[in-house]
Assembly symmetry: C2
Homo-oligomer: 663 residues x 2
């Protein structure tokens, strides 16, 4: 692939993005699309804009300005802590790759370009390999620049990540302290209640907690299996409420009896965050489910190799012409072959990748998570592993190796193997950023599926009730892995093929605007994981850094730059130590609340005399069957608020690809 | 190696063991050796036996009878729960391998022996390979017997292990409930106390706990750095005492503040179990220490390959004769070559292995464990990994492969590789059981090093004070890995080379007698891990089973027994599920006490009005500087009890190969 082909691909993408962005700026002004583009605002009952004038059909950049000027506080108030953390992940990536872009452009790129004593042709007809580390000759004295760049990028990434972790930890603490009394702080979820003959679970729970947590036990509420005949089928699970936050924390953290499979206590999720259907799963089934899902995820990852291998086959032109002879004429044209090699493979891969998040969400649901945010976090991990494995590793290894399984045969020479393959595949990754990255942002902005759905409803089904497509919650499990995949690709390719960095910068900057706009306008926040996605981003960053360093080790070894290799090893060790330190210092706060904070909150509310009020709220907060959610009342007349709430629930299930598990 | 050579080796070992056992039965009757053989009894002040008659010089089996008749309750009272668990591990192994021996002798051995249509010579001159699975021809219809044997052995091992886990869990609970009030239940260890200017740590601790644990805080006790000027150098660590066991449990389990590196709380070890020198290590240093020790252990494992490779070289006779030409004459004799091939390699390996436990104990001490039992458990893990890696894997892979590192190159065909190598090395493992196993028991019984040391003192130094070699605590970190190594070898070889099972049975039976005798007579119990060694044994058993199944898969694949392969896979999955279930069901009890039990104990003591008495004891229990342990008073006149106590401490350090860390 030559530089000009890359520019062709970039040009096509810029044009596509520009058209889509303009289209968006027009579509968003149409009153009929208000459900699609202003779902959140609609849900929070702001005024609909219904002015009809010419302005409606002229593209305008006003939304960009609005997105740019949205502050963190506004974002926090409309999208919760998770939205803030998500935007912070994008900003963090933008910052890190700004540093990387500067370092790579001024330090690494010239060294690569003049790496061999050869006559340079017109720069736009240079093959892309000339800009990558492949062009640096063996034993070159200039490889220290790559090592220096690696040091600068690592130090910048670690420093920024550390301060980000610190800031997000603080945000989380402020969020806990500052928000109004949270029922989940007073409640625990008890599972594995032992069954006793002649005594109901209800009495068993009361007896146990009045006996062993006498002074702090307030009340409890059983969980029922959802079904037609309610309040008959009772589960071995209950929410137990305590008089103070501290008592609930204590009860959730300790082993209750000497059988760890009974009286299993957990912090209760927030009321809106509960997966009611999963609460009734017998506790002793959970570990089997977890193992089964782990196995299923791995199998899914491996089976997915087939379409990816097919996509890889497409990049080889002669292959394609052989199997589809009628294409021969078309592919003879220079620009067509450039499009095919530079663009088409990514598009096909992306289409296949659309099936992944719903599958992983389904897996996460079957796993038995008690909270929706936990389910989303689990799906996020699964999608992330999947993407990094199937987009990065499989592409790297299928690039030259025919049998994928022979990958496993080389463990000790893995760095050398990677060093050979990663630069060779860098071109593919650059075009992947262009096509998948940029296009995904544009399609996210234009909300292609809801738009088609609403048009279908309106013009084909002649349906007039718009509220059926209620606002959805932000698909963190799709978007976070996507961003982290680009972070991973960025780190891995930056010093090997620095041309990737400008495209990444464009991606992250566009992402910053688009996601801010979407979080403010489109998505509603129904539950919050309290910034729980940041540790995933942090771990992925460190993993990407370590992986980059291992690849660099291999490259330096291949290029016989012993000094550069020698200097990379301490960097590797320091990065691992940095990660371990962050894990020790920050991670526990994301898992548990601290006694100090909860006790202080308890005292504040006690002094203010608010406790009785809070106790009253507790009983209604964790109500499994509200009138609007019982199956019978689904079609009964209800207020607008309930109706919206109801449609949210429907769309939530639709969006998360999760049929209600039937047992 | 032929059967007759194996019998020669067995004969030599039986003779050596018989001589050593007889020698022991004489030596133990000599009054001068009472310190060596009756250290525990001496410490508990039972009568010395000083009768001088001819009987003293006649070997007698009375100790065997006494050991046989020692009950579990006696063992519990003299050796604590750890001793009981240790003997139970031996009995468990004995039971499992009895089943394995029966199955393998009556089912597998005949199939192996008649596996190929060949003329059988005199059975004693058959090579050992005839008795192993190597003799079964490819595609044999009889390989289902091996699969059946694998099923029977796995089911027997899992069933026995499950009931053992259950029984030991119960013993642990009874131990906690039944023993007198334990100060460690009321105490927690606090580390990472923040330093404040103008306020001493003492006041900081008091302020924090009176503020946040007002109703339950009793008192606290600072920890001081050991040195010449005491009570000046104060550490950021303290023991904090609570009014109830439950309050201490709560305080030890929760995150105190929103900085997880400060106010770090842990359950306090029992007073005798504390590693005082490690308590002063700044908490933020600990994670670095742990990583450093992990790296050091791995490096040690790899460097150790050198002597092992040398030992392997010795088994090749022609190699030996080449490098040491003067041996040619000696090695020509049949029985000499049999001794060299069957015996010498193991002896040299054993001598090298003697350096391992002290090294690992040193590593475990540097790691910063707060309790002696924790230190021993950590060393136990390290020695176990070391042994299984260096005795088993390295031997298997160096058997035919010249470069050890190429091991890593074959991951996918590992089962096939193991299937080829394990049976080939089975002969070595059989002789290893003979030499290392049996001989180690005999040397353990005869206490060779203390005996030499006391003789040296008495006859060379003319020293009359016997008490310098005080009784030691049982070296669990040496003996448990040794037994588990044999369990591992036993499982791995049982269906491949069934001849190993009788030798193992002898080993475990002898071990049962020897260890019971030693626990009752020789070693004192200074601290107890509360049965914490059993989970190690359980995990190793399951790992050995899984490993055996993988090797069997490889063997069945090589022998083209697809049905047997197919039946092995569900067994593998079920074994993994079994392990996971046991982890869920039992392991948490070994890590934390349950609220129910502690609350019940609290109530019992409150009703009995014992609490005040317990509070009084707490202050003296955790006293860092008793008169006899201050450096100044080391040589001051002291009572006999203190003297013995002191010498215990000296020997403890000596035995555990751990110089007091100086900081």
């Amino acid at each position: 692939m030559k530089l000009v082909a890359l520019f062709t691909a970039a040009g096509i993408n810029i044009a596509v993005c520009a058209v889509l962005l303009s289209l968006y700026s027009i579509l968003r002004k149409q009153p009929g699309n208000v459900n699609v583009y202003f779902g959140r605002r609609l849900a929070s009952k702001r005024s609909r804009r219904t002015n009809l004038c010419l302005e409606r059909f002229v593209p305008s950049p006003s939304w960009i300005l609005k997105a740019w000027h949205t502050t963190e506080d506004e974002l926090l108030s409309v999208g919760g802590l998770d939205a803030v953390v998500f935007v912070r992940i994008v900003v963090f990536s933008l910052r890190v790759f700004s540093v990387a872009a500067i370092v790579c452009t001024f330090l690494v790129l010239p060294v690569n370009y003049y790496g061999q004593d050869r006559k340079h042709v017109d720069i736009s007809f240079e093959p892309l390999e000339v800009f990558s580390i492949e062009n640096v000759k063996e034993g070159s004295r200039w490889l220290w620049t790559h090592c220096l760049a690696l040091y600068i990028i690592t130090i910048a990434a670690c420093t920024l990540s550390y301060f980000e972790f610190k800031a997000i930890t603080n945000l989380r603490l402020v969020h806990i302290i500052g928000s109004p009394p949270n029922p989940s702080h007073f409640a625990i979820l008890v599972r594995g209640i032992p069954w006793a003959p002649e005594v109901s679970y209800h009495e068993t729970v009361r007896n146990f907690f009045t006996n062993y947590h006498e002074s702090t036990y307030l009340s409890h509420q059983m969980i029922y299996k959802a079904g037609t005949v309610q309040k008959l089928k009772e589960c071995a699970a209950a929410f137990v409420f305590f008089k103070t936050r501290f008592a609930a924390l204590v009860a959730s953290r300790i082993l209750q009896t000497s059988n760890p499979m009974m009286w299993v206590t957990d912090q209760a999720p927030e009321p809106h965050d509960i997966c009611w259907s999963n609460l009734c799963i017998p506790y002793r089934q959970l570990w089997i489910r977890k193992i089964a899902i782990l196995v299923a995820s791995i199998v899914f990852m491996i089976v997915f190799l087939l379409p990816v291998t097919f996509v890889q086959g497409l990049t080889q032109l002669d292959h394609l012409q052989e199997s589809l002879p009628f294409l021969k004429g078309i592919l003879k044209k220079e620009y067509m072959s450039q499009i095919v090699t530079g663009y088409l493979p990514s598009v096909i891969l992306i289409l296949f990748l659309y099936t992944v998040p719903p599958t992983m969400m389904l897996f996460a649901a079957i796993e038995g998570s008690i909270s929706r945010s936990g389910r989303k976090k689990s799906a996020c991990y699964k999608v992330l592993f999947f993407l990094i494995w199937n987009v990065f590793f499989v592409n790297v290894f299928t690039g030259s190796v025919i049998s994928q399984l022979s990958v496993f045969n080389r463990i000790t020479n893995l760095p050398a193997q990677l060093a050979k393959e990663v630069p060779a595949q860098a071109t593919f990754f650059i075009t992947y950023v262009l096509s998948s990255g940029w296009a995904s942002l544009a399609t996210e902005l234009i909300q292609i599926f809801p738009l088609i759905w609403i048009s279908f409803q309106r013009y084909i089904l002649r349906c007039k009730d718009d509220s059926l497509t209620g606002p959805q919650s932000f698909p963190y499990h799709t978007e976070i892995p996507r961003i982290l995949l680009f972070v991973f690709l960025g780190f891995t390719c930056s010093i090997l093929a620095p041309l990737i960095t400008p495209f990444l910068l464009v991606y992250f900057f566009l992402g910053y605007l688009v996601y801010k706009n979407q979080l403010v306008n489109v998505y509603v926040t129904k539950y919050d994981s309290g910034g729980g996605f940041w540790p995933i981003a942090h771990s992925t960053t460190v993993f990407a850094l370590i992986f980059t360093q291992i690849v660099a080790l291999g490259v330096f070894g291949m290029k016989r730059a012993t000094v550069a290799s020698g200097f990379t090893i301490p960097l590797l060790i320091l990065t691992i130590l940095f990660h371990e330190y962050c894990r020790q210092r920050f991670l526990p706060i994301f898992k548990n609340n601290s006694a100090q904070i909860l006790i202080d909150l308890d005292r504040r509310d006690e002094r203010a005399g608010k406790m009785e009020e809070i106790y009253d709220q507790l009983h209604t907060a964790y109500c499994q069957f509200t009138p609007s959610t019982t199956p019978e009342s689904d079609l009964s007349p209800s207020t607008h608020g309930q109706d919206l709430e109801e449609s949210n629930r429907g769309s939530e299930i639709l969006e998360e690809g999760k049929p209600q598990p039937k047992r």
